[in-house]
Amino acid sequence: MNQADVTKLVSKLRIKVPDKHRRLRNIKGPEGRLDKLRKTVTGLIKYERIELNHHRADEARQYAERLISEAIMHGDCHKPTMDIADYWLLEKELIHKLFKVLAPRFENCNTAFTKMYKAPRVVPGRNIDKAIIELRGNPYPSLTNKQWNNRHLLQNVLLDAAKYEYRQAKYAEMAEKIGKNEDAQPKSDDSANSKPVANV
């Protein structure tokens, strides 16, 4: 059987896309779900960083990634892609942003276009999972601190030097003790008397 090549029909998104969509609760039903998601995707493209409930964020993320991926693949001269953008983005100036700003930004991107973080939970409060979803390359301060362990900061440099000195002193002490034991019992085996190195 010759299986048709379906690998090129739709691009593979770099996020986890489950088989079934979430049936988000809405008064208007499935139509209302799509309306709500449209608003969310519009907001994400407009503000580039939004905080909202985890489930709706996850759904909107999938649609946003698909939208950006289509825009990159086909460009703005492709009618179906323009129709998709027209449907999903409620503010029409964002269609310009999608094709002129976001497509070039993410052209050579090897990772997902969005990033989702779990927001801190307000402890005396309702158990609602909030998430923060943002586009990569946004102009705001970063939510993660990758430099928390910067060895080149002055306090870390001084602390590392102090730790190093302490260890050297301890090693010298141990070496002295081993030397003394060897002198006292020259016949005994080294391994029996040597003490295990303590982790400093």
Partner: protein, 196 residues
């Protein structure tokens, strides 16, 4: 079996009744005295109201609750709903600020300041560039006393620049001005002001 006497008696009675009906009954004043047989009151039927009266009906348990049901109600079950307190073992220390947060979630203390700054920038962007013109360029955020990095002027033309009227926060690195998709700068020397 009615005897013949009774039978005759009945016939006479009926005849009398019929005659009276035809000619109209005589006035009551002329009626003869007759025995008035008092009907005995019907024996009173038993009703629960005699015992209860006007009381209130209250629900009452019908059967004893078994110990299994009692324990299930009190403590729940792991497969269904666990009603006992469970300690949280997923609380860790933030490496940046030292406050506590749940593993996998952002640190509340760190996020608070980032959120505030983000909101300010977003408000500024909407204020300055929130008109309905089509968006064709990235936004670049500059703080007090900052100028654009060394790039040819053509590079910056058309870019949407937002100037925040405040000092750059200590924790917001300057290096974010450089985007990975932009052309790398060709200047060989590193100025002291450009260090993180």
């Amino acid at each position: 079996m009615i005897s013949r006497v009774h039978h005759l008696k009945n016939i006479i009675k009926n005849v009398e009744k019929n005659i009276l009906q035809i000619f109209g009954l005589p006035p009551r004043e002329l009626a003869l005295a007759y025995t008035y047989e008092k009907r005995l009151p019907e024996p009173k039927k038993f009703s629960i109201k005699d015992i209860v009266g006007d009381g209130i009906l209250l629900a009452v348990p019908k059967f004893r609750r078994t110990v299994e049901k009692r324990l299930k109600r009190k403590f729940g079950s792991p497969e269904y709903t666990w009603k006992m307190l469970v300690p949280k073992t997923n609380i860790i220390v933030c490496n940046s600020c030292g406050h506590y947060h749940e593993r996998g979630h952002l640190c509340a203390h760190c996020y608070k300041k980032v959120e505030a700054e983000t909101k300010e920038i977003q408000d500024k962007i909407q204020q300055k560039l929130g008109n309905q013109k089509p968006i064709e360029n990235d936004v670049i955020v500059l703080y007090n006393g900052e100028s654009l990095p060394d790039q040819p002027k053509e590079f910056w033309r058309g870019k949407r620049i937002i100037e925040m009227k405040k000092d750059r926060p200590q924790w917001f690195s300057k290096n974010l001005l450089e985007k990975t998709t932009q052309q790398p700068s060709e200047s060989k020397d590193v100025k002291p002001t450009d260090l993180a």
